[in-house]
Symmetry: C2
Subunit: 308 residues, 2 copies
Protein backbone atom coordinates (compact mmCIF):
# COMPACT_ATOMS: atom_id res chain seq x y z
CA UNK A 1 0.00 0.00 0.00
CA UNK A 2 1.51 3.38 -0.95
CA UNK A 3 2.30 5.75 1.93
CA UNK A 4 1.70 9.48 2.28
CA UNK A 5 5.41 9.91 1.62
CA UNK A 6 4.99 8.05 -1.70
CA UNK A 7 2.14 10.35 -2.73
CA UNK A 8 4.12 13.46 -1.78
CA UNK A 9 7.08 12.20 -3.79
CA UNK A 10 4.81 11.61 -6.80
CA UNK A 11 3.37 15.12 -6.49
CA UNK A 12 6.87 16.60 -6.38
CA UNK A 13 7.92 14.59 -9.44
CA UNK A 14 4.87 15.77 -11.41
CA UNK A 15 5.18 19.44 -10.40
CA UNK A 16 6.21 21.58 -13.38
CA UNK A 17 5.41 18.80 -15.86
CA UNK A 18 1.64 19.07 -15.52
CA UNK A 19 -0.72 21.93 -14.67
CA UNK A 20 -1.61 22.93 -11.16
CA UNK A 21 -5.30 23.23 -12.04
CA UNK A 22 -7.42 26.09 -10.69
CA UNK A 23 -10.46 25.81 -8.43
CA UNK A 24 -13.77 27.40 -9.25
CA UNK A 25 -16.70 28.39 -7.03
CA UNK A 26 -20.31 29.30 -7.83
CA UNK A 27 -22.71 31.11 -5.53
CA UNK A 28 -25.63 29.64 -7.50
CA UNK A 29 -24.46 26.06 -6.88
CA UNK A 30 -23.76 26.77 -3.20
CA UNK A 31 -27.30 28.08 -2.77
CA UNK A 32 -28.84 25.21 -4.67
CA UNK A 33 -27.03 22.49 -2.73
CA UNK A 34 -26.78 24.20 0.64
CA UNK A 35 -23.03 23.99 1.19
CA UNK A 36 -19.90 25.87 0.13
CA UNK A 37 -18.64 23.92 -2.88
CA UNK A 38 -15.19 24.05 -4.42
CA UNK A 39 -14.80 22.62 -7.92
CA UNK A 40 -11.31 21.31 -8.64
CA UNK A 41 -11.11 22.10 -12.35
CA UNK A 42 -9.05 19.15 -13.52
CA UNK A 43 -10.61 19.50 -16.98
CA UNK A 44 -7.89 22.13 -17.56
CA UNK A 45 -5.22 19.45 -16.96
CA UNK A 46 -2.95 18.40 -19.86
CA UNK A 47 -4.98 16.33 -22.38
CA UNK A 48 -8.18 17.51 -20.69
CA UNK A 49 -8.36 15.09 -17.75
CA UNK A 50 -6.68 13.89 -14.55
CA UNK A 51 -5.39 10.76 -16.28
CA UNK A 52 -1.96 12.17 -17.11
CA UNK A 53 -1.14 12.40 -13.39
CA UNK A 54 -1.03 8.66 -12.85
CA UNK A 55 0.24 7.72 -16.29
CA UNK A 56 3.11 10.21 -16.24
CA UNK A 57 4.06 9.16 -12.73
CA UNK A 58 4.07 5.52 -13.84
CA UNK A 59 6.23 6.30 -16.88
CA UNK A 60 8.72 8.21 -14.75
CA UNK A 61 9.22 5.15 -12.50
CA UNK A 62 10.46 2.90 -15.31
CA UNK A 63 14.04 1.65 -15.39
CA UNK A 64 16.41 3.03 -18.03
CA UNK A 65 16.02 -0.19 -20.01
CA UNK A 66 12.22 -0.11 -19.86
CA UNK A 67 12.22 3.53 -20.91
CA UNK A 68 14.36 2.77 -23.91
CA UNK A 69 12.12 -0.09 -25.09
CA UNK A 70 8.93 1.86 -24.54
CA UNK A 71 5.47 1.43 -23.06
CA UNK A 72 2.23 -0.01 -24.40
CA UNK A 73 -1.38 0.17 -23.34
CA UNK A 74 -4.75 -0.90 -24.65
CA UNK A 75 -7.57 1.61 -24.59
CA UNK A 76 -11.06 2.31 -25.84
CA UNK A 77 -9.88 5.84 -26.25
CA UNK A 78 -9.51 8.01 -23.17
CA UNK A 79 -6.34 6.51 -21.73
CA UNK A 80 -4.71 6.37 -25.16
CA UNK A 81 -4.15 10.10 -25.49
CA UNK A 82 -3.12 10.46 -21.86
CA UNK A 83 -0.49 7.71 -22.06
CA UNK A 84 0.77 9.08 -25.37
CA UNK A 85 1.14 12.53 -23.84
CA UNK A 86 2.78 11.17 -20.68
CA UNK A 87 5.25 9.05 -22.62
CA UNK A 88 6.23 11.96 -24.84
CA UNK A 89 6.68 14.16 -21.77
CA UNK A 90 8.93 11.50 -20.21
CA UNK A 91 10.70 10.91 -23.57
CA UNK A 92 9.64 7.29 -23.77
CA UNK A 93 8.26 5.69 -26.97
CA UNK A 94 4.60 4.69 -26.67
CA UNK A 95 2.41 2.18 -28.47
CA UNK A 96 -1.35 2.18 -28.08
CA UNK A 97 -3.63 -0.67 -29.11
CA UNK A 98 -7.06 0.61 -30.10
CA UNK A 99 -10.11 -0.86 -31.79
CA UNK A 100 -10.67 0.03 -35.44
CA UNK A 101 -14.07 1.23 -34.20
CA UNK A 102 -12.57 3.75 -31.72
CA UNK A 103 -13.64 7.39 -32.07
CA UNK A 104 -11.44 8.94 -34.77
CA UNK A 105 -10.71 12.03 -32.66
CA UNK A 106 -9.22 9.81 -29.96
CA UNK A 107 -7.05 7.93 -32.46
CA UNK A 108 -5.91 11.26 -33.90
CA UNK A 109 -5.11 12.62 -30.42
CA UNK A 110 -2.91 9.63 -29.54
CA UNK A 111 -1.06 10.00 -32.86
CA UNK A 112 -0.71 13.76 -32.41
CA UNK A 113 1.04 13.13 -29.10
CA UNK A 114 3.48 10.88 -30.94
CA UNK A 115 2.23 7.39 -30.06
CA UNK A 116 2.32 4.50 -32.48
CA UNK A 117 -1.32 3.47 -32.79
CA UNK A 118 -2.08 -0.19 -33.60
CA UNK A 119 -5.64 -0.52 -34.83
CA UNK A 120 -7.10 -3.96 -34.17
CA UNK A 121 -10.21 -5.80 -35.32
CA UNK A 122 -11.41 -8.37 -32.81
CA UNK A 123 -9.59 -9.36 -29.62
CA UNK A 124 -7.89 -6.21 -28.32
CA UNK A 125 -6.32 -7.84 -25.28
CA UNK A 126 -4.81 -10.69 -27.29
CA UNK A 127 -3.33 -8.19 -29.77
CA UNK A 128 -2.01 -6.06 -26.92
CA UNK A 129 -0.31 -9.02 -25.22
CA UNK A 130 1.19 -10.29 -28.43
CA UNK A 131 2.65 -6.88 -29.43
CA UNK A 132 3.89 -6.27 -25.89
CA UNK A 133 5.75 -9.60 -25.71
CA UNK A 134 7.07 -9.50 -29.27
CA UNK A 135 8.50 -5.97 -28.93
CA UNK A 136 9.47 -6.35 -25.24
CA UNK A 137 7.43 -3.29 -24.27
CA UNK A 138 6.31 -2.49 -20.72
CA UNK A 139 2.58 -2.82 -20.36
CA UNK A 140 0.83 0.01 -18.53
CA UNK A 141 -2.62 -0.59 -17.08
CA UNK A 142 -4.66 2.64 -17.25
CA UNK A 143 -5.80 2.33 -13.61
CA UNK A 144 -5.01 -0.97 -11.88
CA UNK A 145 -1.43 -0.08 -10.97
CA UNK A 146 0.05 1.27 -7.74
CA UNK A 147 2.27 3.83 -9.48
CA UNK A 148 -0.73 5.12 -11.42
CA UNK A 149 -2.78 5.30 -8.21
CA UNK A 150 -0.01 7.14 -6.38
CA UNK A 151 0.21 9.63 -9.24
CA UNK A 152 -3.53 10.27 -9.04
CA UNK A 153 -3.00 10.80 -5.32
CA UNK A 154 -1.27 14.08 -6.17
CA UNK A 155 -4.72 15.43 -7.02
CA UNK A 156 -5.92 14.58 -3.51
CA UNK A 157 -3.08 16.53 -1.91
CA UNK A 158 -3.66 19.47 -4.24
CA UNK A 159 -7.37 19.80 -3.57
CA UNK A 160 -6.78 19.79 0.18
CA UNK A 161 -4.33 22.68 -0.31
CA UNK A 162 -6.74 24.50 -2.63
CA UNK A 163 -9.75 24.22 -0.32
CA UNK A 164 -8.54 24.15 3.27
CA UNK A 165 -11.28 23.10 5.68
CA UNK A 166 -13.03 20.85 3.18
CA UNK A 167 -15.03 18.16 5.04
CA UNK A 168 -16.22 16.07 2.09
CA UNK A 169 -14.56 15.15 -1.20
CA UNK A 170 -16.72 13.97 -4.11
CA UNK A 171 -15.10 11.87 -6.84
CA UNK A 172 -16.53 10.37 -10.06
CA UNK A 173 -15.95 6.59 -10.25
CA UNK A 174 -15.21 4.41 -13.27
CA UNK A 175 -12.82 1.50 -12.75
CA UNK A 176 -11.61 3.03 -9.50
CA UNK A 177 -8.35 4.66 -10.62
CA UNK A 178 -9.05 8.25 -9.66
CA UNK A 179 -10.93 7.61 -6.44
CA UNK A 180 -8.39 5.14 -5.10
CA UNK A 181 -5.61 7.72 -5.53
CA UNK A 182 -7.60 10.63 -4.16
CA UNK A 183 -9.04 8.68 -1.19
CA UNK A 184 -5.60 7.34 -0.29
CA UNK A 185 -4.08 10.83 -0.21
CA UNK A 186 -7.01 12.49 1.56
CA UNK A 187 -7.39 9.85 4.28
CA UNK A 188 -3.66 9.63 4.95
CA UNK A 189 -3.67 13.39 5.54
CA UNK A 190 -6.94 13.55 7.52
CA UNK A 191 -9.03 10.42 8.15
CA UNK A 192 -11.97 12.54 9.32
CA UNK A 193 -12.62 13.90 5.81
CA UNK A 194 -15.45 12.02 4.11
CA UNK A 195 -14.68 10.62 0.63
CA UNK A 196 -17.69 9.72 -1.51
CA UNK A 197 -17.62 8.11 -4.95
CA UNK A 198 -20.30 8.50 -7.59
CA UNK A 199 -20.86 6.06 -10.44
CA UNK A 200 -23.54 5.55 -13.11
CA UNK A 201 -26.33 3.06 -12.37
CA UNK A 202 -25.62 1.58 -15.80
CA UNK A 203 -21.89 1.11 -15.07
CA UNK A 204 -21.80 0.33 -11.36
CA UNK A 205 -18.95 -2.15 -11.14
CA UNK A 206 -17.44 -0.59 -8.01
CA UNK A 207 -20.74 -0.66 -6.07
CA UNK A 208 -21.18 -4.29 -7.09
CA UNK A 209 -17.60 -5.11 -6.13
CA UNK A 210 -18.05 -3.55 -2.69
CA UNK A 211 -21.30 -5.49 -2.20
CA UNK A 212 -19.65 -8.75 -3.28
CA UNK A 213 -16.45 -8.16 -1.34
CA UNK A 214 -14.26 -8.82 -4.39
CA UNK A 215 -13.61 -6.99 -7.69
CA UNK A 216 -16.37 -7.76 -10.16
CA UNK A 217 -16.74 -7.62 -13.94
CA UNK A 218 -19.78 -6.43 -15.83
CA UNK A 219 -20.83 -8.02 -19.12
CA UNK A 220 -21.41 -4.51 -20.48
CA UNK A 221 -21.00 -0.99 -19.12
CA UNK A 222 -22.41 1.93 -21.05
CA UNK A 223 -23.20 5.45 -19.89
CA UNK A 224 -23.54 8.96 -21.20
CA UNK A 225 -20.58 9.45 -18.84
CA UNK A 226 -18.34 7.41 -21.14
CA UNK A 227 -15.31 8.14 -18.96
CA UNK A 228 -16.99 6.12 -16.16
CA UNK A 229 -18.12 3.15 -18.25
CA UNK A 230 -15.44 0.73 -17.07
CA UNK A 231 -16.60 -2.90 -17.03
CA UNK A 232 -14.04 -3.93 -14.37
CA UNK A 233 -12.90 -2.68 -10.98
CA UNK A 234 -9.14 -2.83 -10.58
CA UNK A 235 -7.75 -5.16 -7.90
CA UNK A 236 -5.35 -2.64 -6.40
CA UNK A 237 -8.05 0.01 -6.65
CA UNK A 238 -10.57 -2.22 -4.92
CA UNK A 239 -8.42 -2.79 -1.84
CA UNK A 240 -7.90 0.95 -1.38
CA UNK A 241 -11.56 1.79 -2.01
CA UNK A 242 -12.67 -0.83 0.55
CA UNK A 243 -10.34 0.67 3.12
CA UNK A 244 -10.64 4.40 2.46
CA UNK A 245 -13.86 5.32 0.61
CA UNK A 246 -16.80 6.05 2.92
CA UNK A 247 -19.55 5.48 0.40
CA UNK A 248 -20.24 4.97 -3.31
CA UNK A 249 -23.59 6.14 -4.65
CA UNK A 250 -25.18 5.46 -8.04
CA UNK A 251 -26.81 8.00 -10.34
CA UNK A 252 -29.22 7.79 -13.28
CA UNK A 253 -28.41 8.70 -16.87
CA UNK A 254 -31.00 11.48 -16.77
CA UNK A 255 -29.38 13.01 -13.70
CA UNK A 256 -25.94 12.84 -15.35
CA UNK A 257 -27.22 14.84 -18.32
CA UNK A 258 -29.10 17.33 -16.15
CA UNK A 259 -26.05 17.81 -13.93
CA UNK A 260 -23.76 18.37 -16.90
CA UNK A 261 -26.05 21.09 -18.22
CA UNK A 262 -26.51 22.65 -14.79
CA UNK A 263 -22.82 22.86 -13.94
CA UNK A 264 -21.92 24.07 -17.42
CA UNK A 265 -24.51 26.83 -17.35
CA UNK A 266 -23.53 27.98 -13.86
CA UNK A 267 -19.73 27.75 -14.11
CA UNK A 268 -19.05 28.02 -17.87
CA UNK A 269 -16.78 24.98 -17.56
CA UNK A 270 -17.07 22.63 -20.56
CA UNK A 271 -17.09 19.56 -18.36
CA UNK A 272 -17.80 16.04 -19.63
CA UNK A 273 -20.74 14.10 -18.12
CA UNK A 274 -18.37 11.95 -16.03
CA UNK A 275 -17.15 15.07 -14.26
CA UNK A 276 -20.71 16.09 -13.41
CA UNK A 277 -21.50 12.80 -11.61
CA UNK A 278 -21.23 14.28 -8.08
CA UNK A 279 -23.77 16.94 -9.02
CA UNK A 280 -26.06 14.26 -10.43
CA UNK A 281 -26.05 12.65 -6.98
CA UNK A 282 -26.88 15.99 -5.37
CA UNK A 283 -29.71 16.61 -7.87
CA UNK A 284 -31.17 13.17 -7.14
CA UNK A 285 -30.95 13.68 -3.38
CA UNK A 286 -28.55 10.74 -3.02
CA UNK A 287 -26.10 12.85 -1.03
CA UNK A 288 -26.59 15.34 1.78
CA UNK A 289 -23.79 17.85 2.26
CA UNK A 290 -22.71 19.16 5.63
CA UNK A 291 -20.03 21.79 5.46
CA UNK A 292 -17.39 22.69 2.89
CA UNK A 293 -17.22 20.20 0.03
CA UNK A 294 -14.80 19.73 -2.86
CA UNK A 295 -15.91 18.06 -6.08
CA UNK A 296 -13.40 16.80 -8.65
CA UNK A 297 -14.28 18.02 -12.16
CA UNK A 298 -12.35 15.14 -13.61
CA UNK A 299 -12.28 16.01 -17.31
CA UNK A 300 -13.57 18.04 -20.21
CA UNK A 301 -13.37 15.64 -23.12
CA UNK A 302 -17.02 15.89 -24.03
CA UNK A 303 -18.33 14.98 -27.43
CA UNK A 304 -18.58 18.44 -28.98
CA UNK A 305 -20.26 17.01 -32.07
CA UNK A 306 -23.31 16.67 -29.79
CA UNK A 307 -23.47 20.42 -29.18
CA UNK A 308 -26.25 22.12 -31.18
CA UNK B 1 -16.98 61.13 -27.72
CA UNK B 2 -15.67 59.53 -24.50
CA UNK B 3 -11.98 60.08 -23.70
CA UNK B 4 -9.35 57.66 -22.41
CA UNK B 5 -9.78 59.32 -19.04
CA UNK B 6 -13.51 58.49 -19.13
CA UNK B 7 -12.75 54.84 -19.85
CA UNK B 8 -10.16 54.71 -17.07
CA UNK B 9 -12.65 56.23 -14.65
CA UNK B 10 -15.26 53.65 -15.68
CA UNK B 11 -12.76 50.83 -15.14
CA UNK B 12 -11.93 52.16 -11.68
CA UNK B 13 -15.60 52.42 -10.80
CA UNK B 14 -16.27 48.85 -11.88
CA UNK B 15 -13.22 47.36 -10.15
CA UNK B 16 -14.26 45.21 -7.20
CA UNK B 17 -17.90 45.10 -8.35
CA UNK B 18 -17.28 42.78 -11.30
CA UNK B 19 -14.72 40.06 -12.01
CA UNK B 20 -11.32 40.71 -13.48
CA UNK B 21 -11.65 37.81 -15.90
CA UNK B 22 -8.72 35.49 -16.61
CA UNK B 23 -6.98 34.93 -19.93
CA UNK B 24 -6.47 31.50 -21.44
CA UNK B 25 -3.98 30.23 -24.01
CA UNK B 26 -3.88 27.06 -26.10
CA UNK B 27 -0.84 25.65 -27.89
CA UNK B 28 -3.16 23.74 -30.21
CA UNK B 29 -4.97 26.91 -31.33
CA UNK B 30 -1.69 28.80 -31.74
CA UNK B 31 -0.36 26.05 -34.00
CA UNK B 32 -3.58 25.84 -35.99
CA UNK B 33 -3.83 29.58 -36.65
CA UNK B 34 -0.13 30.46 -36.80
CA UNK B 35 -0.02 33.17 -34.15
CA UNK B 36 0.19 33.44 -30.37
CA UNK B 37 -3.44 33.83 -29.29
CA UNK B 38 -4.72 35.09 -25.96
CA UNK B 39 -8.36 34.41 -25.12
CA UNK B 40 -9.90 36.97 -22.79
CA UNK B 41 -12.32 34.73 -20.91
CA UNK B 42 -15.16 37.15 -20.37
CA UNK B 43 -17.58 34.23 -20.18
CA UNK B 44 -16.52 34.03 -16.52
CA UNK B 45 -17.84 37.58 -15.99
CA UNK B 46 -20.87 38.14 -13.72
CA UNK B 47 -24.05 36.83 -15.44
CA UNK B 48 -21.84 35.03 -17.96
CA UNK B 49 -21.03 37.86 -20.37
CA UNK B 50 -19.35 41.25 -20.81
CA UNK B 51 -22.72 43.02 -20.75
CA UNK B 52 -22.65 43.87 -17.04
CA UNK B 53 -19.64 46.14 -17.61
CA UNK B 54 -21.56 48.72 -19.59
CA UNK B 55 -24.88 48.31 -17.85
CA UNK B 56 -23.44 48.61 -14.35
CA UNK B 57 -21.39 51.62 -15.39
CA UNK B 58 -24.53 53.23 -16.80
CA UNK B 59 -26.50 52.53 -13.63
CA UNK B 60 -23.75 54.02 -11.48
CA UNK B 61 -23.93 57.32 -13.44
CA UNK B 62 -27.58 57.97 -12.57
CA UNK B 63 -28.57 60.88 -10.35
CA UNK B 64 -29.89 60.18 -6.86
CA UNK B 65 -33.43 60.86 -8.07
CA UNK B 66 -33.09 58.55 -11.08
CA UNK B 67 -31.64 55.83 -8.85
CA UNK B 68 -34.57 56.08 -6.49
CA UNK B 69 -37.16 55.80 -9.27
CA UNK B 70 -35.37 52.96 -11.00
CA UNK B 71 -34.33 51.84 -14.47
CA UNK B 72 -36.15 50.03 -17.26
CA UNK B 73 -35.06 48.23 -20.40
CA UNK B 74 -36.61 46.12 -23.11
CA UNK B 75 -34.88 42.92 -24.09
CA UNK B 76 -35.28 39.73 -26.04
CA UNK B 77 -33.44 38.12 -23.17
CA UNK B 78 -29.70 38.63 -22.91
CA UNK B 79 -29.62 42.21 -21.68
CA UNK B 80 -32.47 41.56 -19.25
CA UNK B 81 -30.41 39.50 -16.81
CA UNK B 82 -27.40 41.76 -17.13
CA UNK B 83 -29.36 44.92 -16.36
CA UNK B 84 -31.18 43.18 -13.52
CA UNK B 85 -27.84 42.12 -12.02
CA UNK B 86 -26.29 45.57 -12.54
CA UNK B 87 -29.23 47.36 -10.97
CA UNK B 88 -29.20 45.08 -7.94
CA UNK B 89 -25.45 45.61 -7.58
CA UNK B 90 -25.99 49.39 -7.70
CA UNK B 91 -29.03 49.11 -5.40
CA UNK B 92 -31.42 50.53 -7.98
CA UNK B 93 -34.87 49.01 -8.73
CA UNK B 94 -35.10 47.51 -12.22
CA UNK B 95 -37.98 46.75 -14.56
CA UNK B 96 -37.50 44.62 -17.66
CA UNK B 97 -39.98 44.40 -20.51
CA UNK B 98 -39.81 41.01 -22.21
CA UNK B 99 -41.94 39.16 -24.75
CA UNK B 100 -44.22 36.42 -23.44
CA UNK B 101 -42.36 34.23 -25.94
CA UNK B 102 -38.92 34.90 -24.38
CA UNK B 103 -36.86 31.89 -23.27
CA UNK B 104 -38.09 30.93 -19.80
CA UNK B 105 -34.54 30.63 -18.44
CA UNK B 106 -33.90 34.26 -19.35
CA UNK B 107 -37.11 35.43 -17.69
CA UNK B 108 -36.19 33.41 -14.60
CA UNK B 109 -32.67 34.87 -14.55
CA UNK B 110 -33.95 38.46 -14.63
CA UNK B 111 -36.37 37.67 -11.80
CA UNK B 112 -33.70 35.86 -9.79
CA UNK B 113 -31.57 39.02 -9.92
CA UNK B 114 -34.52 40.92 -8.48
CA UNK B 115 -35.96 42.69 -11.51
CA UNK B 116 -39.65 43.23 -12.03
CA UNK B 117 -40.39 41.46 -15.30
CA UNK B 118 -43.28 42.78 -17.44
CA UNK B 119 -44.29 40.14 -19.98
CA UNK B 120 -45.86 41.65 -23.07
CA UNK B 121 -47.78 40.25 -26.03
CA UNK B 122 -47.39 42.36 -29.15
CA UNK B 123 -45.59 45.69 -29.38
CA UNK B 124 -42.66 45.51 -26.93
CA UNK B 125 -41.38 49.02 -27.60
CA UNK B 126 -44.78 50.63 -27.10
CA UNK B 127 -45.24 48.77 -23.82
CA UNK B 128 -41.72 49.76 -22.72
CA UNK B 129 -42.30 53.46 -23.47
CA UNK B 130 -45.67 53.49 -21.77
CA UNK B 131 -44.40 51.81 -18.57
CA UNK B 132 -41.31 54.02 -18.55
CA UNK B 133 -43.31 57.25 -18.82
CA UNK B 134 -46.07 56.19 -16.45
CA UNK B 135 -43.67 55.12 -13.69
CA UNK B 136 -41.06 57.83 -14.42
CA UNK B 137 -38.31 55.23 -14.86
CA UNK B 138 -34.99 55.90 -16.61
CA UNK B 139 -34.74 53.98 -19.86
CA UNK B 140 -31.47 52.12 -20.48
CA UNK B 141 -30.56 51.09 -24.01
CA UNK B 142 -28.61 47.83 -23.92
CA UNK B 143 -25.89 49.16 -26.25
CA UNK B 144 -26.62 52.52 -27.93
CA UNK B 145 -25.51 54.66 -24.99
CA UNK B 146 -22.21 56.42 -24.31
CA UNK B 147 -22.07 55.35 -20.64
CA UNK B 148 -22.65 51.74 -21.66
CA UNK B 149 -19.95 52.02 -24.32
CA UNK B 150 -17.49 53.57 -21.87
CA UNK B 151 -18.18 50.74 -19.42
CA UNK B 152 -17.45 48.15 -22.11
CA UNK B 153 -14.24 50.09 -22.76
CA UNK B 154 -12.93 48.75 -19.44
CA UNK B 155 -12.61 45.38 -21.17
CA UNK B 156 -10.33 46.96 -23.79
CA UNK B 157 -8.00 48.36 -21.14
CA UNK B 158 -7.98 45.04 -19.28
CA UNK B 159 -7.07 42.91 -22.27
CA UNK B 160 -4.17 45.20 -23.15
CA UNK B 161 -2.86 44.73 -19.60
CA UNK B 162 -3.45 40.97 -19.74
CA UNK B 163 -1.66 40.47 -23.06
CA UNK B 164 1.04 43.11 -23.43
CA UNK B 165 2.39 43.25 -26.97
CA UNK B 166 -0.88 42.23 -28.59
CA UNK B 167 -1.03 43.56 -32.18
CA UNK B 168 -4.56 42.56 -33.14
CA UNK B 169 -7.79 42.46 -31.12
CA UNK B 170 -10.69 40.34 -32.38
CA UNK B 171 -14.21 41.19 -31.19
CA UNK B 172 -17.60 39.55 -31.92
CA UNK B 173 -20.12 42.07 -33.31
CA UNK B 174 -23.88 42.28 -32.75
CA UNK B 175 -25.40 45.77 -32.53
CA UNK B 176 -21.96 47.27 -31.97
CA UNK B 177 -21.97 47.74 -28.18
CA UNK B 178 -18.97 45.64 -27.26
CA UNK B 179 -16.75 46.51 -30.21
CA UNK B 180 -17.35 50.26 -29.92
CA UNK B 181 -16.21 50.21 -26.29
CA UNK B 182 -13.24 47.93 -26.88
CA UNK B 183 -12.07 49.74 -30.04
CA UNK B 184 -12.35 53.12 -28.34
CA UNK B 185 -10.19 52.02 -25.42
CA UNK B 186 -7.63 50.11 -27.50
CA UNK B 187 -7.14 52.86 -30.10
CA UNK B 188 -6.92 55.63 -27.52
CA UNK B 189 -4.11 53.66 -25.84
CA UNK B 190 -2.33 52.57 -29.03
CA UNK B 191 -3.69 53.48 -32.50
CA UNK B 192 -1.32 51.01 -34.15
CA UNK B 193 -3.18 47.99 -32.72
CA UNK B 194 -5.55 46.51 -35.28
CA UNK B 195 -9.17 46.01 -34.16
CA UNK B 196 -11.26 43.59 -36.20
CA UNK B 197 -14.96 42.85 -35.74
CA UNK B 198 -16.65 39.60 -36.72
CA UNK B 199 -20.38 39.25 -37.36
CA UNK B 200 -22.66 36.55 -38.78
CA UNK B 201 -23.51 36.67 -42.49
CA UNK B 202 -27.14 36.24 -41.46
CA UNK B 203 -27.04 39.20 -39.03
CA UNK B 204 -24.62 41.63 -40.67
CA UNK B 205 -26.13 45.00 -39.76
CA UNK B 206 -22.78 46.59 -38.90
CA UNK B 207 -21.15 45.60 -42.21
CA UNK B 208 -24.19 46.96 -44.03
CA UNK B 209 -24.11 50.16 -42.00
CA UNK B 210 -20.44 50.72 -42.78
CA UNK B 211 -21.10 50.13 -46.49
CA UNK B 212 -24.07 52.54 -46.46
CA UNK B 213 -22.34 55.16 -44.33
CA UNK B 214 -25.24 55.34 -41.85
CA UNK B 215 -26.70 52.97 -39.25
CA UNK B 216 -28.98 50.43 -40.91
CA UNK B 217 -31.84 48.20 -39.79
CA UNK B 218 -32.42 44.63 -40.90
CA UNK B 219 -35.93 43.24 -41.37
CA UNK B 220 -34.77 40.08 -39.55
CA UNK B 221 -31.54 38.93 -37.94
CA UNK B 222 -31.17 35.33 -36.89
CA UNK B 223 -28.02 33.33 -36.15
CA UNK B 224 -26.84 30.35 -34.15
CA UNK B 225 -24.84 33.10 -32.43
CA UNK B 226 -28.02 34.53 -30.89
CA UNK B 227 -25.99 37.08 -28.93
CA UNK B 228 -24.99 38.67 -32.25
CA UNK B 229 -28.41 38.70 -33.91
CA UNK B 230 -29.15 42.39 -33.42
CA UNK B 231 -31.33 43.88 -36.20
CA UNK B 232 -30.00 47.41 -35.64
CA UNK B 233 -26.62 49.12 -35.32
CA UNK B 234 -26.58 51.75 -32.59
CA UNK B 235 -26.00 55.37 -33.63
CA UNK B 236 -23.35 56.11 -31.01
CA UNK B 237 -21.80 52.73 -31.70
CA UNK B 238 -21.71 53.39 -35.43
CA UNK B 239 -19.73 56.62 -35.11
CA UNK B 240 -17.07 54.96 -32.98
CA UNK B 241 -16.89 51.87 -35.21
CA UNK B 242 -16.47 54.06 -38.32
CA UNK B 243 -13.63 55.92 -36.65
CA UNK B 244 -11.82 53.16 -34.77
CA UNK B 245 -12.53 49.69 -36.17
CA UNK B 246 -10.14 48.62 -38.93
CA UNK B 247 -12.33 45.97 -40.49
CA UNK B 248 -15.51 43.95 -39.96
CA UNK B 249 -15.68 40.47 -41.53
CA UNK B 250 -18.66 38.17 -41.90
CA UNK B 251 -18.82 34.47 -41.09
CA UNK B 252 -21.13 31.62 -42.03
CA UNK B 253 -23.41 29.73 -39.66
CA UNK B 254 -21.47 26.51 -40.31
CA UNK B 255 -18.20 28.18 -39.37
CA UNK B 256 -19.75 29.55 -36.17
CA UNK B 257 -20.77 26.05 -35.10
CA UNK B 258 -17.43 24.51 -36.08
CA UNK B 259 -15.55 27.24 -34.24
CA UNK B 260 -17.62 26.80 -31.09
CA UNK B 261 -16.85 23.09 -31.05
CA UNK B 262 -13.18 23.63 -31.84
CA UNK B 263 -12.54 26.22 -29.14
CA UNK B 264 -14.57 24.28 -26.58
CA UNK B 265 -12.67 21.07 -27.22
CA UNK B 266 -9.27 22.77 -27.12
CA UNK B 267 -9.76 25.12 -24.18
CA UNK B 268 -12.59 23.47 -22.15
CA UNK B 269 -14.34 26.84 -22.03
CA UNK B 270 -18.13 26.54 -22.39
CA UNK B 271 -18.34 29.49 -24.76
CA UNK B 272 -21.49 30.49 -26.64
CA UNK B 273 -21.38 30.61 -30.46
CA UNK B 274 -21.19 34.43 -30.44
CA UNK B 275 -17.91 34.21 -28.54
CA UNK B 276 -16.45 31.85 -31.12
CA UNK B 277 -17.06 34.24 -34.04
CA UNK B 278 -13.39 35.33 -34.35
CA UNK B 279 -12.35 31.67 -34.65
CA UNK B 280 -15.02 31.14 -37.29
CA UNK B 281 -13.33 33.88 -39.34
CA UNK B 282 -9.95 32.19 -38.87
CA UNK B 283 -11.39 28.79 -39.89
CA UNK B 284 -12.88 30.31 -43.03
CA UNK B 285 -9.66 32.09 -43.96
CA UNK B 286 -11.30 35.51 -43.68
CA UNK B 287 -8.54 36.76 -41.41
CA UNK B 288 -4.78 36.42 -41.52
CA UNK B 289 -2.96 36.92 -38.25
CA UNK B 290 0.43 38.52 -37.93
CA UNK B 291 1.81 38.52 -34.43
CA UNK B 292 0.25 38.31 -30.99
CA UNK B 293 -3.54 38.43 -31.09
CA UNK B 294 -6.21 38.71 -28.40
CA UNK B 295 -9.72 37.38 -28.95
CA UNK B 296 -12.63 38.37 -26.73
CA UNK B 297 -14.55 35.31 -25.54
CA UNK B 298 -17.58 37.47 -24.96
CA UNK B 299 -19.94 35.11 -23.16
CA UNK B 300 -20.88 31.61 -22.08
CA UNK B 301 -24.66 31.68 -22.11
CA UNK B 302 -25.03 28.81 -24.53
CA UNK B 303 -28.20 26.81 -24.81
CA UNK B 304 -27.24 23.80 -22.69
CA UNK B 305 -30.47 22.04 -23.63
CA UNK B 306 -28.75 21.53 -26.99
CA UNK B 307 -25.94 19.50 -25.42
CA UNK B 308 -26.35 15.74 -26.00
Amino acid sequence: MPTLEDVRRAAAQLAGRIHRTPVVTSTALDELFGAPLTLKAELFQKTGSFKVRGLLHKTLQLTAEERERGVITVSAGNAAGALAWAARNAQVPATVVMATTAVQAKIDAARAYGAQVELVDGDLIAAYESIRDERKLTGVHPFDDLDVITGHGSLGLELLDDAPGTRTVLVPVGGGGLISGVALAVKLVDPSIRVVGIEPETADVVSRSLAAGTPQKLPTAKSIADGLAAPVCGTHNFGIIQQYVDEVVRVSEDALLDATRLVMSRTKLALEPAAAAPFAALLEGKLQLTGPTTSVVSGGNLDVSKLY
